[in-house]
Subunit: 217 residues, 2 copies
DNA sequence: AACAGAAATTAGGCGTGCCTAATTTCATTT
DNA sequence: AAATGAAATTAGGCACGCCTAATTTCTGTT
C-alpha cells in the first residue's frame, strides 16, 4: 500500500511528534539521515496523499490516516523486536536494526499472528509499549530507575529527592524530564548502574542516584 | 550488499537452472513478470558484477559467487516458510508470498539463529529442501506420488508403469520429468488425489495413477 | 539459401527517492 | 526597521529498475 520510504517518514514524524515540539523538515532530515531538500519533496508527496498536514509555520503533523499507518509500523517493529530478542536470542541492542527491516513486511494478519505467538507482549525489549491493533498504547507508570532491568530503556518523568545538589548533578549529566535512559549494566558490588543517557555515551551512577530518578518504561 | 531486484534475479536464474534447460532472457522475464527488455538491462548489470555469465547462445548461468547468494536467499526463504507455517500457523499455500518479502532481510547470522530456533529443519512446508549454510542441499529420494502429504510439492522424476495408455494420459495432463506437482487434497472415499500440475489449475487423479508416478520432494 | 516468426537487444522514456547548489523565507538580534 | 544567520524551498540532476516501440539477430522451415 505504501512504500518503504513513506512508512519511514510517517514513523519518523510519529516519533518526533511524541517528543512534543514542532516537527520541522530539518528534524526529519536529521532523523532519517536525508537531505532537507529530499524531505521537502516527500512531505509534499505524503501531504497530497493526506497522510500528514504540513506547513512551515506548524511543521508536520500526522492525519488520522497517517497516524494509523505509523502506529501499525511501530507495532510491527516492536513485535519483531520481541521475537528477535526472546526467540532468537538477540541482545536488546542488536534487535533494532533488524526490526527496521522486518517492520515493512506486508501481510493482512501477520502482526496479530505474531502477537499471539509471542503471548501478547505489552512492551518491546527496550521497554517501549507495543501499540495495539486499535491504536492504543499501554499505559506507562512511574517507577524508580533502580528497578529497571539491564537492557531496558525508560524516560525520566520525575525525581524523588529535590535536593539542589542532586538537581545540579542531573543537569550536569544532561538528564531532564523526558530524557531517555537505557540501563546498560548493574554492578553487583555496590549497586551502581551503568546507563546510557539519550544518545550520549555511557556513564556510571550510584545506586542511590538511581533510586531517586523516577521513570516510565 | 545486493539489491532486492538483484537477489530476485539470482533466485529466478537459480530456479530456472535447476529445471535443466537454457536460462533465456524471456524465461526470466516470465518468471519475474517483467518485460524482456528490462531483463536484458539487469542481466548486463549483474554480469558486470560477476554474479552470472551470460550470452545469448548459452543463456544465463550463475557464477560461484552468484550461486552462493542465490542459495542464501533460497535458504532464508524456506526457513521463513517453516517459521510462518509451524509457528504462526499459516497454511502451506499462504507462506510463499510472505517469505518472498522476508527472504531479503539482511543480518549477519539471522539465518543460522532462525535455523536453530526452528530445530534445523531439512525441508520447507512444500517439501523443498533447505540449503545448508555451506550450500549443500539435502538429498531427495524417489518416492511414489501417492505417499506425498497434502500441501507438499514434489517434482516428477520417473514412472513405474510404462504402459502406453498411461504415458498418453501423462502427456495429456502435461506431466513429464521435472514437472512440479502439489498435492492439494486426498479424497478418503476412493484414495483419489487432487493435485496442481505446475502452475496450471487443479485436477483430480486416481489413487492408482498416483502410485505410478515417482517423485522427489 | 531465403524467409517468417520468435527472441534478444537498443533507444528513449518514466516514476521514485535521493542529491547539491542557489535562492527565498523566517526568526532573532541590534 | 534593518541585518544576519538558520531553515525551507526551488531547480536541476542522478541511479535504479522498470516500461514501450523499433530494430537486429537467431532458428527452423521451405
Amino acid at each position: 500500500m505504501y512504500t518503504l520510504s513513506e512508512e519511514n517518514y510517517l514513523k519518523a514524524i510519529y516519533r518526533l511528534s511524541a517528543d512534543g515540539g514542532k516537527v520541522t523538515a530539518s528534524s526529519i532530515a536529521e532523523t532519517l539521515g536525508n537531505n532537507p531538500a529530499s524531505v521537502v519533496d516527500m512531505l509534499k508527496k505524503i501531504t497530497t496523499k493526506r497522510l500528514i498536514r504540513y506547513d512551515k509555520k506548524h511543521g508536520a503533523a500526522l492525519t488520522e490516516k497517517g497516524q494509523r499507518i505509523a502506529l501499525q509500523v511501530v507495532r510491527k517493529h516492536r513485535l519483531w523486536e520481541v521475537f528477535l530478542h526472546e526467540k532468537l536470542g538477540y541482545s536488546w541492542d542488536e534487535v533494532h536494526d533488524i526490526a527496521e527491516q522486518m517492520e515493512h513486511i506486508q501481510h493482512e494478519d501477520l502482526d496479530s499472528r505474531l502477537d499471539k505467538f509471542l503471548g501478547f507482549p505489552k512492551y518491546d525489549p527496550h521497554g517501549d509499549p507495543i501499540p495495539q491493533p486499535n491504536g492504543t498504547l499501554a499505559k506507562m507508570s512511574k517507577i524508580s530507575l533502580s528497578t529497571i532491568e539491564p537492557g531496558k530503556s525508560c524516560h525520566v518523568v520525575g525525581i524523588k529527592d529535590t535536593n539542589a545538589t542532586f538537581l545540579r548533578y542531573l543537569q550536569k549529566l544532561n538528564i531532564g524530564i523526558g530524557t531517555k535512559i537505557t540501563i546498560v549494566e548493574r554492578i553487583p558490588f555496590d549497586g551502581s548502574v551503568v546507563i546510557a543517557i539519550g544518545r550520549q555515551s555511557q556513564t556510571t551512577v550510584s545506586g542511590k542516584f538511581a533510586e531517586n530518578v523516577l521513570v516510565e518504561l
